[in-house]
Amino acid sequence: MNATIARRKTRNRPWTYVVAIILFLFLAYNSVYIKKLDEVKAAGSAGTGKFDAATYAKTFWNTKLIPSAAGGAVDLSTLLSLLKTDKDKAFTTYSQALGIGNIRYFLVKGEGTVTAVSDNDVTLSLPSGETIRLATEYIFGNAARDASGLIKITEFDNTTDLNNVSAAINDIIRKDVIPPLKAAAKPGKKIAFVGAIELNRAHLHLDDIEVIPISAR
């Protein structure tokens, strides 16, 4: 009896192999495709066409942010005044953010007199009496990217690309905005600026406002 079963098993084995090979070939045929790398590159297909954050940031800066910055920005004195009287309205009306949470960004503009210049910032006194700082050394974060609300998160395949855009925009600020600002910033001089600020809705501190400059003259 056992010998019969063993013989039957042995007889069945070749068919099992044939079925396994056919299944393997079927799966392999439907799993993989091979193309010329040039064709894939030309088609800009996945894996070869990498996102260029610097190019994106430059285009965004020249065609969207700078042309609309002055018109889209809120006067900083007006904003500070509204934040003191009606915080919710100020955040709802003027703030932007790509994610959820209490950190929100504002595109602001204003004019003030330089009262101090340090290695890290230029301090301005606004006509309304508030004192603010224009950052000149530590240009980090997402304020410049997000404050205008002109960038949509759906434009990006992944968060790395999105973060790289922030870094590239901050690079533009460091190279194109900060040097002339630092050169012109002398105590007593008037500076008109457009910039971005970051505020925490849950922990609002209005006594030390730092503006990331987008343009200054």
Binding site: S31, I34, K35, G47
Partner: protein, 326 residues
Amino acid sequence: MQLSLESHKPTLARFQSLIALFVLCLGISLMSDKFLTVANFWNVLRQISVNVCISTGMTLVVLTAGIDLSVGSVLALSGAITAGLLRNGIPMPSANLFIGFTLLGSILAGILTGSGLGWFNGWAITRFSLPPFVATLAMLTIARGLTMLWTGGFPITGLGDSFTYLGTGWLIGIPVPVWISGLIVAIATLITNKTRLGRYIYAIGGSESAARLSGVNIERIKMVVYTLAGTLAGVGGLLVTSRLDSAQPNAGISYELDSIAAVVIGGTSLSGGRGSILGTVQGAIIIGVLNNGLVLLNVSPFWQQVVKGFVILLAVIIDQKSSKRE
């Protein structure tokens, strides 16, 4: 009265997971009106699907008196391989060739990665007589490192609607991950209850030397079991990646603990030979309901870890006591 309670002890012990689940559900539903809703029901089932997948494999391993600490890392690597191949393929500049992977190809590659790593675990354990704890702990680090190398430390995202359907879609009114995990549970139950492999798994866990003397090929069965555990971790990786539409290099961290917890709470003995797949499913549901309830009750995530730790401790104590009684 005391006599009556004594006579019911075996029944109570048999259904201890179900009783615990019932008490848990009752307690949470009294404290949160959002718990007993249809949406939350499907949400919990969808969330536990990944744990059910990897815990099913873990059950098979624990039944042989082994342990697999690498499932979380294997899950991460499998998900990353799937996402990487689907999104980027394999460019070969030297030959001017691009090997692209279809959805099926990427999924198979991810799952086979899990199988391969599981097989390696089994091979290391049987070939060098390593304690499973040590061998799989090594794999935990190896697979995590390989995931970091493969992804460069960055998430791989934008995997397409067809792929995300596996983790987020619905089929006949039931979430797709629930179908997948249900199918896995059904097959694993069939294997453990109705096949020779299942009997051997229990036999090895009950007494390895007795099983060896009975002619069971211990090494081969262990290799199969660890390969299955790796495969199911691969399926888990597929579900996680699909659900998030993103392969995260740090995915699956501490999943092995959730998995072991589900197995132990479900009544499978850590010393092997005793337990069931359905018990593990109950354990996974208890963990899932507990997580869900703590979130709904607005308990801090830090406290959630503390509570979960105590629940696992309690389950192990109960397991030890029942083992001694037997």
